[in-house]
Amino acid sequence: MIERNFEAFRDPDLAKGLITQIRSRSRRPIRLMEVCGTHTVALFRSGVRSLLPDTIGLLSGPGCPVCVTAQGEIDAFVALAQRPDTIVATFGDLLRVPGSGTTLQAAKGEGADVRIVYSAVDALAFARDNPEKEVVFLGVGFETTAPTIAAAIFSARQSGCMNFSIAAAHKTVPAALGALLGRSDLKVDGLLLPGHVSVMIGVAGYRPFFNASQMPSAITGFEPTDLLMGIAELVTQIETGRPRLYNAYPRAVTEGGNPKAMALLEQVFAPADVPWRGLGRIPASGLVLRPEFERFDAFRRFDIQIVDAPEPKGCACGQILTGTRIPPECPLYKTTCSPIHPVGPCMVSSEGTCAAYYRYHQASS
């Protein structure tokens, strides 16, 4: 059972040992990026941040699926929701993300049929139960969610479900890491790589990126001692000058990942150049439906274009997602932007960097 297994990785003595190790090894100031939003929250919630020496700075990266969804994609989602006789099914945390005009939540308040689901399979069930409606699932997320959506599309095709489609805005992590490390303004000494995505793509999924960048890297889990093990590994790599791609989450992540899930993903989706909030358009970093599945493409079916839309004025989400600024350095943070009235998506998602800072980073304010 999941919860019983957690306990061993929250052991205070094990954690103390790792903290001592990190403190004794860490000499020069370094900046580590946790790529994944779940890591950002876990680092705050577990209190790990409060226990690290001053030499270690933590930056949040572009690994929050809602946060990197481009403004134009949100606008397209809202346009889909505002169509008549349409049910839009979505993961919960997209509801409050502001597009150029409005949010899915506000559209819902004005009568749009927007429903929260936990998987694309639930959305497919809506389609079967409501044959007179069009059901559109908003496909957001990384390699973690994309295979389940591929499975739903397969199932829809097999059962001849004609009123189900996907608004695909998926993104892939290694491509984004490559683009991120190519930026001249990025000052990062090591990466905590996302555990969930790694379960799917495996250690092998990062090899091309690591071989090209030689950036110290540790695939890291989400429990307190997982986080500390990842950080300890990166400190050692950096202090010894020996970068490597290390799997600090071996109980969940294998070299090859989940080949079945990835094969399913590749059957349904093809890589595409897509826009990321804050990072711009990145070659081959998104997933679009392959031509043989294009009748499930909601954008095509309803002729909705994703238009590049300017990001909100003053919002530093772009720089925050790339680790070049932290939330308190954004002029909107806690002034006009809060979880109640978010301006940018980093404040909306519970795993967004700004929301995490807002909730947990108040000790000094």
Partner: protein, 336 residues
């Protein structure tokens, strides 16, 4: 805080809900009895102090493991009255029923209300029934109000927390909220999730019998323990320190929270209370709680401090520290 339309966040019990109360309700109706925003109003009539409270219940699904909307409607108001330190005596009951609702379901709900009323030892003394056209309400809404008598010498209220107080909880967190969520969404988890709905008035009587000087009693319903503790810290202008390792959560509930990215500190309870008691009485109160069926898993979870008035901090399991803020809006399940 400006808004044009009411959203579900306004009903979440968190910051957004507080803003609605502060912006729209208090300016119109504020008075010395209402403005402290305790669970119930404390009134003095003919020399007798009374507690008076009202609550409206909507829940989807109407029936869930551990209870149903009827039981919830009785227990919720009984608890709000009991949290004023009062002995609940009388309830009112208002039903709003959607056209077409099954008689069988209504009877089942009324039967469970009857059982809940009996268990709490209160009487329903007035009521009202409305039927609305199909679509004008979601199956069944219930309003209950309750009145109780506050014994002499008892003075509990959210502004009463004092530095040095021990903070006790009567049992595990987040059972109700996670049960409803997983039922509503058709998610199944290993290990049974059950709502904790229960009337806590008898538990409160036991506690007050061993310590009439209990400073604060609150039932952490919507918004959960985290939000309720923030309200108490703000209303009493004291700081609160929690210990994560002492927070009781059932393993199955913890697992469901992990999976959905929820923090059990912000998930609703319907049969738990938080008590702030003088440190030297904490052991006696704890023992009294553990002797009651609704307090078997009671524990001490923190203390009240002079530092950081209005704020709640928590020592994490691994010895770190973090702030526990008030819930902002409804928690939404995360993507991955």
């Amino acid at each position: 805080m400006t808004f044009d339309k009411i959203t579900l966040d306004h009903g979440s019990g968190g910051k957004v809900a507080h803003a609605l109360t502060a912006d729209l309700l208090l300016p119109r109706f504020g008075n010395p009895t209402l403005t402290p925003l305790n669970d119930g109003a404390v009134l003095t009539l003919g020399g007798q102090r009374l507690a008076f409270s009202t609550d409206t219940f909507t829940v989807d699904p109407l029936f869930f493991p551990g209870g149903d909307i009827g039981e919830l409607a009785v227990n919720g108001t009984v608890n709000d009255v009991a949290m004023c330190g009062a002995r609940p005596l009388y309830l009112s009951m208002g039903l709003i029923i959607e056209e077409g609702f099954a008689r069988r379901d209504l009877e089942r709900i009324l039967d469970s209300m009857q059982r809940a009323v009996g268990a709490a030892g209160v009487d329903v003394v007035t009521g009202d029934t409305k039927v609305v056209p199909r679509g004008a309400a979601d199956k069944l809404f219930i309003n209950t109000s309750g009145v109780g008598v506050i014994p002499a010498g008892i003075s509990v209220g959210a502004q009463g927390a004092r530095p040095g107080d021990s903070i006790l909880i009567s049992g595990t967190m987040a059972d109700h909220g996670m049960t409803i969520l997983t039922q509503r969404e058709g998610l199944s988890f290993e290990g049974d999730l059950r709502s904790d709905t229960a009337a806590l008035n008898h538990l409160v009587e036991r506690m007050l019998a061993v310590c009439p000087d209990i400073h604060v009693l609150r039932d952490p319903t919507r918004g959960g323990v985290g939000t309720t503790l923030n309200e108490i810290a703000q209303q009493s202008q004291t700081g609160i320190r929690l210990r994560e390792a002492d927070l009781p959560v059932r393993p199955a509930v913890a697992g469901a929270c992990e999976l959905l990215g929820f923090d059990p500190l912000y998930v609703a309870n319907e049969g738990k209370l938080l008590a702030f008691v003088p440190a030297d009485a904490a052991d006696a109160v704890l023992r009294a709680m553990q002797a009651d069926i609704n307090g078997r898993d009671a524990s001490v979870i923190g203390t009240v401090v002079d530092d950081h008035p209005g704020r709640v901090y928590m020592k994490t399991r691994i010895g770190g520290e973090r702030i526990v803020d008030m819930l902002t809006g409804e928690q939404l399940p995360r993507i991955c």
